[in-house]
């Protein structure tokens, strides 16, 4: 079932050192890593970044296969980026036909861009695979805490995010179920031209929206029944605490970003 393979926002429970890190430490480290990705310039920096990522994947015990599967939906974006970069980067021409020119810079640029996107996606997936959605939003809320001072509704935002994350798999499951039920009655989703396929999707969207609204309604009622009234004065059952390991992890990521920044500055 193709739909089931979408692993976006899925959490694979585990007990590796990466799983048990404080979510804030992982978020901060991820931001450092993404910054580093954009500071990288040449093979040396990307090799170091790849090595760092591989090391974290290894420690996290997440199967590389699962990460590769996560990349499937973005293949189109990757190809698109690569093609754009190959043709639209000015520089030393290698070949040209009609209005297109392939440049050496273009190929290199495209290569680095694709590597950058792959590593970016892998690292975000690694975060969602190893952090439960609840921990993730707790971490975000705590990190964005200072923004409350300027009246950003931090708690509401993070609540919305955790609900959205929570319901992605449910919606996928539901879509799958409805699709199966229609297939069982002879609906055909896999053949025909694009228009026919798009048309076949319409009867799928109607029940999906209806059930999504029904769920939203039920959830709202359930939350009100438990006296939910926003973030004001709410305390937590699980308090987040930094441990030495978390601090070390963040410092490591920060050092990586600074190091890559310096190397990138030298053009490596």
């Amino acid at each position: 079932m193709a739909l089931r393979d979408i692993t976006l926002g899925q959490y694979f429970p585990g007990s590796s050192p990466i799983h048990t890190l404080d979510p804030r430490a992982k978020l901060v480290a991820m931001i450092c890593y993404i910054v580093a990705l954009f500071l990288g310039k040449w093979f040396v920096t990307y090799a170091i970044l790849l090595l760092a990522l591989a090391a974290v994947v290894k420690v996290s015990t997440v199967k590389p296969k699962a990460l590769v599967r996560g990349l499937k939906p973005v293949v189109f974006i990757l190809v698109f980026t690569a093609v754009l970069n190959i043709f639209y980067t000015p520089g030393e021409a290698l070949a040209s036909f009609w209005i297109f020119t392939v440049t050496k810079e273009g190929i290199l640029h495209a290569f680095f861009m694709v590597v950058r996107i792959i590593m970016l996606i892998t690292c975000t997936f690694l975060l969602t695979y190893t952090t439960s959605p609840l921990a993730l939003t707790d971490g975000l809320e705590s990190l964005m805490g200072p923004l409350k001072k300027i009246h950003v509704p931090v708690h509401e935002l993070s609540m919305m995010m955790s609900i959205a994350l929570r319901f992605i798999p449910t919606l996928i499951e539901e879509t799958d179920k409805i699709m199966s039920a229609q297939k069982a009655r002879g609906a055909d989703f896999d053949s025909g031209n694009l228009i026919q396929r798009a048309k076949a999707l319409i009867p799928l969207l109607v029940p999906l929206f209806i059930s999504a609204f029904r769920r939203a309604d039920e959830l709202a009622t359930a939350m009100e029944c438990r006296c939910y009234h926003g973030g004001e004065g709410r305390t937590r059952m699980k308090q987040l605490h930094y441990r030495p390991g978390d601090v070390l992890f963040m410092l490591g990521a920060l050092a990586l970003a600074v190091g890559i920044g310096v190397l990138g500055h030298w053009g490596l």
């Binding site: 699962a66 039920a181 297939k183 009655r185 002879g186």
Partner: protein, 288 residues
Amino acid sequence: MAAIIETKQLTHIYSQGTPFEHTALDSVDFSAERGEYLAVIGRTGSGKSTLIQHLNGLLKPTSGQVLFNGTDIWESKDLTRQVRCQVGLVFQYPEYQLFEETVYQDIAFGPKNMGLDADEVDRRVKQSARFVGLEPGVLEKSPFDLSGGQKRRVAIAGVIAMEPQVLVLDEPTAGLDPSGSARILDNIRTYHQEKNACIILVSHSMEEVAREAERLVVIHRGTIPFSGPPEAVFAHGEELETMGLGVPAMTRVFARLRSMGVDLPASVYTIPQAREAVLSALHRKEGT
């Protein structure tokens, strides 16, 4: 008689290659004959729904084969679709899967997909609506405005309208009141008799399957430990208990009596049978 549908060494593993990997079916050999009324029983999570979704090609086997009239249903794409129209599947809680604007259109969805002409579609919709006991006025309503029991009947009508040779129903009576479920079981029995169709009824109610089916197939943790006529299956009373499946109340009473030393047969599962058995036991006693 030749099997109309069968599985050979069917194995299904969900989410293979992830930490959620789960073997739902393990080398299952299952077969159903033309015109047979069969029941599949097993406790929650035993793999019943997984098995029947293989029968019409909704799930692809991880390994093993599904044969319809002797040919592998995955041989070609066309064949898979054809089989889906001949093996009608009514899902568990089908009422959540209605989607058209009116009940009429919803029932017509299957026949239309089969490429039938408008008159034939119309005939089938009306016939199957009547069959499951929907009043004609209901046909123009939105499926979302119906009661739960009515929705369930619409969903069943939608599948029956395709006039499948094999009708598979996944717990069609779950969550209905006794009269509602009796009605649905009646409809199924009538369909079985009129069309000489093969019925595969999934259930976890022993009383229900004992009353309805000619043959039972027990599923336990993705395997079939035994199958056969109800008497033969219920003779495994203790094993069934350890699998979390109760035997019918009458069978349990008789098992107790037997363990107390009363000379009675073990394979009793309905009240008429119980009466017979008790009477003949009394006769024997008088005789000696």
